[in-house]
Amino acid sequence: MTAQMLVQLPLLAVAGYLLGLALPVRVAASLAHWNHRGVTGLVLASLASAYWMLPRLLDASVTEPWVAALKFASVPLLVGLPLAQSWPRSGFVVRGVFLLELIATLFRLGWLYLVSPLRLCNNYLIDDQQRLGQILIAAGAMLFLWIACKLLWGRFDLTRYAGEWTDGRSAPSQPAFTDPPGRS
């Protein structure tokens, strides 16, 4: 269970992320029309990852080969790839909302796995479930600390986010597939 959620699923997402970085410029540009500040992509990645975090699907992907195949195809394409296409486009607020929700999810799931006296997956043992719970809570805490440190002491290139506050419409003169300004 720990291996599936914390090794396999993230590696599949990373594979998709790399795929997303390697997307042809023309494809990326046409996707960008539908992905203002990366919102669509982050919504898609959140929904797809929520789906594959259901205990029932963790179970099914162990016992049913077709569910496993669906997982191997969809986690890279619907989680990793949209993240790669969206994260560089999203600004301070969108990233903040996404990260906050990610931290909350890590804590929620971690707590559930830690305190549940029942096995939530029939294919995994209870000690595996509890270990996963501990690691999820630790991961949530570390992510939170990292963001807190960054907010307190980090350096922000505010010019990069300036457009978010001043310009409701994204500037059409700036092709969306180039790196945002300020990223060197």
Partner: protein, 205 residues
């Protein structure tokens, strides 16, 4: 305009994602596979498979031959020190509570071993002995071939994983099979009254 396109695409995604999620959880009822198998027997017709079994008396029977009676089925292995003890004492209780319908041949209790290599008829008989079985209304049996075991586990939704200490961890429930061989309900162990109640609901007991 990309903001408008983005919001409509996001709303469409949320709706589609919600529908998918509802589909994957039987309408937000079953988030775990244990809940799912209980919902499944209500919503679909799940038949108990015709699998060859060997009973604690050494008799070779087929699960299909037990049709015509209501069956309460549980899955155990005789070395089990945890869930199967709870299941066993439930069956011992049910043997008393359902003494009437069992005596009239309307109800049978069946404990199926998912560890057939270890659970010979002798072991199965000892298992029943441990729970002071009253009479032939409670059978213990093991599947006689590997394919039968796989089919049983698949149809009943039983998942067995090695616990790392030579034993097994498995999901436990009491499966109610009607006289036509359909699995009609999966109930929790530890609540024999609820099982009697449920049988009553079907007009038995």
């Amino acid at each position: 305009m990309s903001a408008l396109r983005t919001s409509s695409a996001s709303v469409a995604l949320v709706l589609a994602g919600g529908a998918l999620l509802a589909g994957a959880t039987d309408g937000f009822q079953a988030f775990t596979s244990e809940a799912a198998r209980r919902v499944a027997v209500h919503e679909r017709m799940v038949m108990a498979p015709p699998v060859a079994l060997e009973t604690e008396a050494g008799d070779r029977i087929n699960l299909a031959e037990l049709r015509g009676k209501w069956l309460l089925v549980d899955f155990v292995y005789t070395r089990c020190q945890t869930l199967c003890l709870a299941l066993g004492s439930d069956f011992a209780r049910l043997e008393d509570d359902l003494a009437g319908p069992i005596a009239s041949g309307r109800v049978r209790l069946l404990s199926v071993s998912f560890d057939p290599s270890n659970d010979s008829p002798r072991e199965l008989a000892a298992y029943l002995e441990r729970f002071h079985r009253r009479g032939p209304g409670w059978l213990a049996a093991r599947p006689t071939n590997a394919a039968g075991l796989i089919e049983l586990k698949r149809r009943f939704g039983v998942t067995v994983v090695p616990d790392g200490f030579g034993g097994y961890i498995h999901n436990a429930g009491i499966h109610l099979v009607d006289p036509q061989g359909r699995i009609v309900e999966i109930l929790d162990f530890g609540a024999p009254d609820a099982i009697v109640q449920s049988l009553r609901g079907f007009g038995v007991a």
